[in-house]
C-alpha cells in the first residue's frame, strides 16, 4: 500500500509518514497540491492521500477536486488531515469528494481508526 502525504509543513509530513510507515505503508511526499498531482501523473499507484488544506500554489480542496475529476485516480482514497474544523468546512471537503477527515491535532490511533474505517488497515482488537 502506498500513501501520498501532502502538507506544506515538513514537520507534519514527517509525523504522518512515521505513523503510516508503522502501519506498513510505503510513502511519497508532496509540499502542495500541484506537486501532489505531479506525483499522481507519473502513474505510480497511490492508495491513500493524506491532504492538508492550507497550502501555497494549490490547496487541499483544489487537489481533491482535481483528483475526483480524473477517472484514472478513482482508486485513491482521499483523507483530509487539517486544522480546518468548522462544520461547514468539513461539509465543503466532503462535497468536493474527500472520503475522510482528520482534524489536527491527532494521535496515531486516530489515523489508525480512520484507516480501519476505510478498510485500508486490518481491524485489530481494540486495546
Amino acid at each position: 500500500m502506498r500513501a501520498l502525504v501532502i502538507d506544506d509543513s515538513r514537520t507534519m509530513r514527517r509525523i504522518i509518514v512515521g505513523v503510516l510507515r508503522s502501519m506498513g505503508f510505503d510513502t511519497v511526499e508532496a509540499g502542495d497540491g500541484r506537486e501532489a498531482l505531479d506525483v499522481l501523473e507519473t502513474g505510480i499507484p497511490v492508495d491513500l492521500a493524506c491532504i492538508d488544506w492550507n497550502m501555497p500554489v494549490m490547496n487541499g480542496l483544489e487537489f481533491v477536486l482535481a483528483v475526483r475529476e480524473n477517472r484514472a485516480w478513482r482508486g485513491v482514497t482521499l483523507m483530509m488531515v487539517t486544522t480546518e474544523s468548522e462544520h461547514n468546512q468539513i461539509v465543503r471537503a466532503l462535497a468536493a469528494g474527500a472520503h475522510e477527515y482528520v482534524i489536527k491535532p491527532f494521535t496515531p490511533d486516530a489515523i489508525r481508526d480512520k484507516l480501519q474505517l476505510l478498510g485500508l488497515v486490518e481491524l485489530e482488537e481494540s486495546a
Partner: protein
C-alpha cells in the same frame, strides 16, 4: 478574528488552554498532564522565539506563541520524536514551531464566527510588533515547568 471571540461564553476551562492541551497531549507529549497554567508571576522571556499565524478577514487577528529558544528546541525534539543525540536543524526547528502555531491558531480560528483564512506561520527571534491595546487574551502556560505564552491580538 473579531473581538467577538467572547471568552465569557466558555464557563470553566479557558478554551485556549483546552486547545493547547490537546495539541501538546496528542502530538508532543503523547499523554495529558504536562501542560498546566503558569502559577505566579510571569517572568520576561530571555532569548525568546516567537511563532504566529494571522487570521485575515473582516476582523483580523493574530495567534502568537512565545517561549524561550531552549524550550522551543525541546518542543521540536518531542514533536519530531527525535533521538537524544539527534541534531535539530534550523529549518526543522522553524518548521516545527511554525506548525505548532499553525495547529493552535487553526483551532482558535474555529472559535470565532465568520473567520477568514489562516496565513502561513512565521517564526522569529524578535517579537512581532504589537500594541498593548490590541491584546485580546493572554495565557501563560508551563510545559514541563517551562514558560510558554499564548496571546491573541486584534489586527484591526
Amino acid at each position: 478574528m473579531s473581538t467577538a471571540i467572547d471568552l465569557s461564553l466558555f464557563t470553566g476551562t479557558d478554551p485556549i488552554f483546552t486547545i493547547a492541551d490537546e495539541v501538546f497531549s496528542a502530538m508532543i507529549d503523547g499523554e495529558p498532564g504536562l501542560l498546566t497554567e503558569w502559577v505566579g508571576d510571569v517572568p520576561v522571556i530571555a532569548d525568546a522565539m516567537h511563532a504566529w499565524v494571522d487570521v485575515d478577514g473582516v476582523a483580523p487577528g493574530r495567534v502568537l506563541l512565545s517561549t524561550e529558544r531552549d524550550t522551543a528546541l525541546q518542543i521540536t525534539r518531542a514533536l519530531l520524536a527525535m533521538e537524544p543525540d539527534e541534531q535539530v536543524g534550523d529549518a526543522d526547528f522553524v518548521d516545527a514551531l511554525g506548525e505548532v502555531a499553525n495547529v493552535v491558531g487553526g483551532n482558535v480560528k474555529a472559535l470565532v464566527p465568520d473567520p477568514g483564512a489562516l496565513t502561513l506561520p512565521q517564526v522569529t527571534h524578535e517579537r512581532p510588533p504589537t500594541s498593548p491595546e490590541n491584546l485580546l487574551h493572554e495565557l501563560a502556560l508551563a510545559w514541563r515547568g517551562r514558560l510558554l505564552v499564548i496571546s491573541l491580538w486584534s489586527l484591526a
